[in-house]
Symmetry: C2
Subunit: 144 residues, 2 copies
DNA sequence: ATGGGTGCAAAGGATTTGCAACATT
DNA sequence: AATGTTGCAAATCCTTTGCACCCAT
């Protein structure tokens, strides 16, 4: 897996340091849309000297180089997605989790577009609502 | 204008206090996607006792009642849109401004949808890139 | 008088900054 | 040696919370 992570970094024009490879590997094996904090906590055991600053810098670097997608769907926290294929993100307003909707039609941008003189290089479609788990909990409360 | 703001609040099931009417009026006359801070600063002269807390509470209340749209396109700050008709938002990564793209196809949700057991009640399409002004500035720098 | 609305001050969190230490070429 | 990378601590900024006051019903 690390080889693939290194490949992807190089393909995106990013120098593969130890920290960057670990963080990219994490993103490529966890499709949970982790926050900075989650990545940090998960990799601390692996890289004992890891700092939050590095995770912040690295994830930002990835998104700037389109090696990962920065998701701002949650008003409280930014999270990241290692799957750069276009797909819809669903945000649960109750529990704050982010889900992928792979079957929903997602906007695709094959190349940068000029719209009214503005240069568009990224498109994101967000759905929001209540996830099935939280719906079930609400039902339980009514029943109980 | 205030009459229309009051109408809209009542239609959304919100009690029209002095502060709420002023904030809604501001949203209905300024299509700049203001942040909490911008609304606060703009209305301080009008309502001398206005507090940031009230602006936070009020804008949140509006978005919960679909009287305004909360936009999380900018990683740094939440902003609000008084125009609740579906339209695409464009975010300039350089200057942070948010523009409306009225002619782009936007997702429309006429009623809540069930997707894989999740309840979807809101859809937002975000475009990101560099706005025309910032593009021009970059050109200037190259030329100069 | 009662309930909701407002506003202050303080707390809480997420993110950034400055700078020194470090690794790698 | 030179350049870019990392990490700590502090600073900053946005947002929420708790509580008291106030207004309107």
């Amino acid at each position: 897996m690390k080889e693939k992570a290194i490949e992807r970094l190089l393909a995106s024009g990013i120098k593969p340091s130890v920290q960057r490879v670990e963080i990219m590997t994490y993103l490529m094996t966890h499709f949970t849309h982790p926050t900075v904090e989650e990545v940090y906590k998960a990799l601390c055991p692996t890289i004992k000297t890891l700092s939050r600053t590095t995770v912040y810098n690295t994830l930002r670097l990835f998104s700037e180089h389109n090696a990962a997608t920065m998701i701002t769907i949650d008003e409280h926290r930014v999270c990241y997605d290692g799957d750069t294929h276009p797909h819809v993100h669903f945000f649960c307003k109750e529990c704050g989790r982010v889900f992928d909707f792979m079957d929903e039609p997602a906007p695709v941008l094959t190349q940068k577009r000029d719209i009214q003189g503005h240069l568009v290089d990224e498109m994101q479609l967000y759905y929001k609502g209540i996830c099935s788990d939280c719906l079930a909990k609400t039902e339980e409360q009514k029943a109980g």
